[in-house]
């Protein structure tokens, strides 16, 4: 055994050296990353594990790659769907309503080489792309929402507006090697203060109107029900009494006398009664012995 090999220090250093060399030569490309290889800052070949539509995970370009140590440099770019969030953008609709809009764009870097070259960055490329996309999203949002009245945002049309924003952003995203997966409005709120207050005031008056309408409708219904009842009663009376109008007249007159002079057992009539009868009175007919 030669003395070098017998010396563990030497072996250790050799192993260390080998490990460093291996680490500098080989790199593991995970499923979640795309790798752009730069040879002295000059891109070499196609990016490794570049996103391709319809790719099945497990059969992508991920795996072990080799490079020239210390000369090739790998720039990692995320392969997954990324997110550019936009908070509290003030948007003016065509009907001059101000709206606070939170929106997000989901995007994926499909051309990592372009993403790297267009942002001029060799680290955090995804974030830089997102930083570039954010103001573009804001502009697209303002442009598209500025074309429609406020009410459209609160209707099924909303989807179409978002599609338009997505299409407009898609063009811009291409130059950063990104593709927009989706654009969505998260919030669309009235700004605090007078716009919100006036909306609440409108709701308040709408409620008052509703309450008054309900009350009036109720009264109308009640009136109709009463009138119907009166009509039904009149019909019932008429049906019964028209059998003999003359007798009804008599019968009702008798009832009426009883009631008026307090003889029907009900409460005393309001005025007490004093009757002066002439001798020709029909009731006194027999009294006069006629």
């Amino acid at each position: 055994m030669n003395p070098v090999m017998r010396n563990p220090v030497t072996i250790g250093f050799a192993a260390l050296g080998a490990a460093i060399l291996a680490a500098a030569t080989f790199a593991i490309v995970p499923e979640t990353k795309q790798a752009v290889v730069l040879r002295l800052n000059n891109p070499v070949g196609q990016p490794v594990n570049q996103y391709q539509p319809g790719q099945v995970i497990g059969r992508t370009g991920a795996g072990l790659i080799a490079r020239i140590p210390f000369i090739d440099k790998i720039v990692w770019v995320d392969k997954r769907v990324l997110d550019a969030d936009l908070d509290n953008t003030l948007v003016l609709s065509t009907d001059q309503l101000r709206l606070n809009v939170d929106a997000f764009a989901r995007f994926r870097i499909v051309d990592p080489l372009r993403a790297v070259t267009s942002t001029g960055s060799t680290s955090n490329t995804e974030e830089r792309v997102a930083d570039q996309l954010r103001p573009l999203l804001g502009t697209a949002l303002r442009n598209e929402l500025g074309k429609v009245p406020f009410s459209v945002l609160l209707s099924p049309e909303r989807g179409r507006v978002m599609d338009a924003i997505q299409a407009s952003l898609q063009r811009d995203a291409r130059q950063y090697g990104a593709t927009i997966v989706d654009v969505r409005i998260k919030h669309a709120d009235l700004p605090d203060g007078s716009p919100l207050e006036s909306a609440l005031q409108r709701m308040r008056t709408a409620r008052q109107q509703e309450a008054n309408t309900i009350r009036a409708q109720g009264q109308k219904q009640a009136q109709i029900v009463r009138a119907e009842a009166d009509a039904t009663a009149a019909k019932v009376y008429a049906e019964a009494f028209s059998k003999d109008a003359q007798f009804y007249d008599f019968y009702r007159a008798m009832q009426s006398y009883r009631h008026t002079f307090g003889a029907d057992g009900g409460p005393q009539p309001e005025g007490s009664t004093s009757i002066i009868m002439g001798r020709d009175n029909a009731y006194l007919e027999k009294f006069n012995n006629r």
């Binding site: 991920a62 909306a199 709701m203 109720g218 003889a263």
Partner: protein
């Protein structure tokens, strides 16, 4: 004492070191170690070296000690050399490799978990629950993902928030979304921040659905529909992202009018009650009126039936009965000769009906009275 190796317990060795103090004599570990010269592992110079050969560890320690004292502050022990040192190194490396293998090859996957396996960075499969064996790192790495556990996200995180409805009203809303990982592979590899993505999707979907709903629907009967539509829309969006997420359900915890409008909303409810009350009154009036009409009509019918059998007699009877009942209760004055009315003593009648002037003028109940 018994845990000490046999060669340490040998009386001669102990004997040679007894004079040093009370602890040394007992062969006590702590006492024996506090001075390098009395180190129990060190092979005593004059001691017996026949049965136990100095092990690699002994050798190492001895050299380390020698180097430390002899180096004069050069620092750090010298590396052991020689054949025994090689053994020492092999054992050390072996232990490290074993630990490494154990820690990176065995994976304990919980019952609710799946392990996503990547071989040199490339997805190669999933591990089911249990203790699973894989190739060691860095060849293979395993990421555990909870798939069975239902995750619950509350919106907003505290209280409730204002949402615009389709009729441009404002709704106070709080809701909960339940979801779980359906496809761990997609969940890990397709989206950078899946949890945040699910949250953003839920907010977006909820507001998109509410933007096509009226306030009254959202507050009242439309809730279940809204929940179902949000669930469906979320699932559709997440499927577009290939997020590997299954939305279990959306439940609205609170959907009400903004707090400052509660009174006005209550006024509407009150108006509804009032309207119903009015209607009830009208119905009861209706019942009364109709019943009375029917009653009177029936009474007339009965009497008329009898009247038809004997019209003249019945008519007369009714007339006399009525007059009797009426006149029995009234004050009567019979005037024999026309024209004497003014001098009649009518004050009794006046007394009863104070200032009324109606009494003298009251005509007799029959048309003949005036003549």
């Amino acid at each position: 004492m018994t845990f000490l190796p046999p060669w340490l317990r040998r009386p001669p060795i102990l004997m040679s070191e007894t004079p040093r103090g009370p602890w040394g004599g007992g062969g006590d570990d702590g006492g024996a170690k506090d001075n390098g010269a009395r180190n129990p592992w060190a092979v005593p110079p004059g001691g017996r070296k026949s049965t136990a050969k100095p092990t690699a560890l002994d050798e190492f320690l001895k050299r380390a000690r020698g180097g430390g004292s002899g180096g004069g502050g050069s620092g750090g022990p010298q590396f052991p050399l020689g054949a025994n040192a090689r053994n020492l190194w092999l054992i050390g490396v072996g232990v490290i490799v074993a630990v490494w293998l154990i820690f990176t090859s065995f994976h304990q996957i919980g019952p609710q978990q799946r392990g996503v396996v990547t071989f040199l960075g490339r997805y190669s499969g999933e591990l089911d629950p249990g203790i699973r064996l894989t190739l060691p790192a860095p060849l293979v790495s395993v990421q555990k993902v909870d798939v069975e556990a239902v995750r619950v996200d509350e919106f907003p995180r505290d209280g409730s928030e204002n949402v615009l409805t389709g009729d441009q009203n404002i709704l106070d809303l709080a809701y909960t979304v339940r979801w779980r990982v359906e496809n761990p592979r997609d969940f890990v590899f397709e989206i950078k921040d899946p949890v945040e993505t699910v949250r953003a999707t839920a907010e977006s979907a909820m507001r998109a659905v509410l933007a096509t709903t009226t306030l009254n629907d959202a507050i009242g009967a439309g809730r279940t529909t809204i929940e179902a539509r949000v669930t469906q829309l979320m699932q559709q969006i997440l499927n577009d992202y290939e997020a590997g997420v299954r939305v279990q359900g959306v439940s609205i915890r609170q959907a009400s009018a903004p707090a400052s409008l509660i009174d006005d909303f209550n006024a509407v409810t009150a108006a509804q009650q009032e309207a119903v009350g009015n209607l009830n009154n009208a119905r009861s009036y209706s019942q009364q009126v109709i019943a009375r009409a029917q009653g009177e009509a029936a009474a007339f019918d009965k009497v008329y039936e009898q009247y038809r059998l004997a019209p003249e007699v019945t008519r007369r009877r009714m007339y006399y009965e009525t007059m009797e009942a009426v006149l029995a209760k009234t004050d009567k004055t019979i005037v024999e000769t026309p024209g004497v009315a003014p001098i009649l003593p009518l004050d009794r009648a006046r007394r009863l009906t104070e200032p009324q002037t109606a009494a003298p003028a009251t005509p007799a109940p029959t048309p003949e009275a005036g003549r």
